[in-house]
């Protein structure tokens, strides 16, 4: 261990509430609602009605032969039926496996690979699976339960903390996603901790648009059912549309989403006076409230680093934005909260989590209720690389802990770029500065075995922006130490995207994939040609 102290939650211990058991057996609120913006339009139902429908789906699954412990796959965009299947599975102790729509193809191989009893999908039947009774169109689900009586009684189920409710898939940098079975203790502990810190209340309306295949997105539905508040679920494509209409109090998003909102708001400000004037600030804040709705209590972000400029923008609009830290293998670890917030940090550990740094500065997480102690599906050796024998998780992220226990993420271990001279350079701070260039929409810094760092960027104006970007890099280089100077620039021929494999599903650039595609094109910047 390094000399850095271990840090644990200051909020003190929080006794986990039996959230999963409550979802499985409880009768939720009549007064709170869940609204969906999905293909076909908006629909809204009370949480009580949602639970009644989930009971019917549970009975339907049982009639299809699903038994406790069986796995059912769900491969669909966010929609009511997704939520019904997930809740129904909890009610009969079936295990869900959520696959990200658009990333995974519906095939019999998928069923075999993950040992699924059934797979519900919104994809059109393909020749390879047409007629396979294990594959069920998710769009048919509501029609299939029409004959089942309303609000059926189901035998109560019990949950042990070591029981598993779902398989989470982690998008690795390469190859097949790794599968991790999530323990009930981890779900109960995380939701109880978040509720203790944020006190979501009956008047809250949480806004969810990231894929429900991510367990942490389903948490907000679980939270609504267990703690009594409202929730809105939509798709990524309808997120901006739904925001303005639903007046949420809390928006859950990744930094790329909030960045797009910021640019939208700023572009609408053109011609409304100087950016620094008090009137401009008031106009900007009013516009932000128009775009996000007028009831925002706070914005929640994580999964990828948020730039200081992004955080400052929303703070200046009077919209608190709380950055946090966690990964699939740990669930939520730290979070800035209304009571303990330090901009630039990812907050202090939530109740039930402890954070330390190893001798290399890598963040190690220990949990009272770990997600699990190994992957369920992964290549040999993958589990051992991450899960430590003492129950800790070696995250692969480099961190710093300040005197008050706030954690700062410095980058990934694999963000450390090694130059020809053997010097290690941390790429992330440089990438953040690179992205402050108005012409740069995204970018990474790589080493590529060269004597100097190389930048691979996406530019809003394409090659026409090369001069502007080179000027920006020249300014960066002027203030940088010798090993932190950028000596080469490539402008990507298309934006990094999930579709072209250059971003992860959580909008993080895939450095290795980007380098593999553009590494050969690296050319010196003007200042370094001599």
């Amino acid at each position: 261990m390094s000399g850095a102290p271990d840090i644990a939650a200051e909020a003190g211990p929080v006794e986990p509430e039996p959230v999963v058991a409550c979802l499985a057996n409880g009768r939720p609120s009549l007064t709170h609602s869940i609204a969906f913006h999905q293909p076909g339009g908006r629909l809204c139902l009370s949480l009580d009605e949602l639970d009644r429908q989930a009971r019917r789906v549970a009975l339907h699954l049982t009639r299809l032969g699903v038994r406790p412990g069986d796995r059912i796959g769900i491969l669909a965009r966010n929609r009511l039926e997704w939520v019904l299947l997930d809740l129904a599975a909890l009610k009969i102790k079936a295990v869900t496996a959520g696959f990200e729509a658009g990333k995974v193809e519906t095939t019999p191989d998928l069923i075999d690979r993950y040992g699924l009893s059934l797979l519900f999908t919104d994809q059109q039947p393909g020749d390879r699976w047409r007629g396979d009774p294990r594959i069920q169109p998710i769009t048919r689900l509501l029609a299939d339960i029409e004959g089942i009586p309303d609000n059926p009684d189901l035998p109560p189920v019990t949950y042990d903390p070591d029981d598993v409710t779902t398989i989470k898939f982690t998008s690795g940098s390469t190859g097949q996603p790794k599968g991790l079975a999530a323990r009930v203790g981890s779900i109960d502990g995380s939701l109880s901790a978040v509720q203790a810190l944020f006190r979501h209340r009956p008047t809250d309306r949480l806004f969810v648009f990231l894929p429900l295949s991510l367990l942490q997105q389903r948490y907000w539905i679980y939270s609504a059912l267990a703690f009594g508040h409202n929730v809105v679920v939509t798709t990524y494509e309808m997120a901006f549309h739904a925001l303005r209409r639903e007046e949420p109090t809390v928006v859950m998003g990744v930094p790329a989403f909030f960045e797009a909102l910021r640019k939208d708001i700023e572009s609408r400000m053109t011609g409304k006076g100087s950016g620094g004037s008090a009137q401009a600030a008031r106009d900007r804040a009013a516009l932000a409230r128009t775009v996000l709705g007028s009831h925002i209590r706070y914005l929640w972000t994580g999964s990828a680093p948020a730039s200081p400029g992004l955080l400052a923008f929303f703070e200046s609009c009077g919209l608190p934005i709380f950055e946090g830290y966690g990964m699939n293998e740990t669930c939520i670890v730290t979070k800035n909260t209304p009571a303990a917030h330090r901009t630039g940090s990812v907050g202090r550990p939530v109740p039930g989590k402890r954070v330390s740094l190893d001798k290399d500065g890598v963040i190690i997480v220990h949990s009272d209720q770990p997600v699990n102690s190994a992957y369920l599906f992964a290549a040999p050796g993958e589990s051992e690389r991450l899960f430590l024998p003492d129950g800790g998780v070696r995250t692969g992220d480099l961190g710093r802990i300040d005197a008050d226990g706030y954690l700062y993420i410095l980058g990934r271990v694999d963000d450390v770029v090694v130059l020809e001279n053997g010097r290690n350079v941390l790429a992330r701070p440089l990438e953040e500065r690179l992205r402050t260039c108005p012409a740069v929409t995204d970018g990474v810094i790589v080493g590529a075995g060269c004597g100097a760092l190389q930048a691979i960027v996406c530019a809003s104006g394409g090659m026409a922006d090369r001069g502007v970007i080179e000027q920006h890099i020249a300014l960066m280089n002027r203030d940088a130490g010798r090993d932190e100077r950028i000596g080469g620039l490539v402008i990507a021929d298309e934006p990094f995207s999930i579709e072209n494999g250059l971003l992860t599903s959580q909008y993080k650039p895939r450095r290795n994939a980007i380098l593999a595609r553009y590494g050969r094109a690296i050319a010196p910047t003007k200042g370094d040609e001599s």
Binding site: G40, M238, S460, P495
Partner: protein
């Protein structure tokens, strides 16, 4: 240029924030992604803004429709088509 094409040009220029890009210099047949660097999030913002402006129901635009869009002219054609399918737009 049709009114919808003009709206597409105006909104696209605002979202792209590219220096010297004006309605008269925007190529309606230029590639949104390769030439103008549109991101998938910006495409969603573009469609949302245009649907709001034209009183078109966004939920009538499918993922497959979005996946087929390559140029500003494609966007305008899709908005016009979706607008014809939107009862609210017809009533307005």
């Amino acid at each position: 240029m049709t009114p919808v094409e003009a709206a597409v040009s105006h909104t696209l220029i605002r979202l792209l924030d590219v220096a010297d890009l004006r309605p008269e210099t925007l190529d309606l047949d230029g590639d949104l992604f390769e030439r103008y660097g549109l991101t998938s999030l910006n495409l969603v913002l573009l469609m949302t803004s245009l649907c709001d402006e034209t009183n078109t129901e966004l939920s009538r635009i499918t993922d497959e429709d979005l996946a087929r869009l390559r140029t500003p002219r494609d966007v305008a054609a899709l908005i016009e088509l979706a607008g014809r399918k939107t009862p609210a737009a017809t009533e307005a």
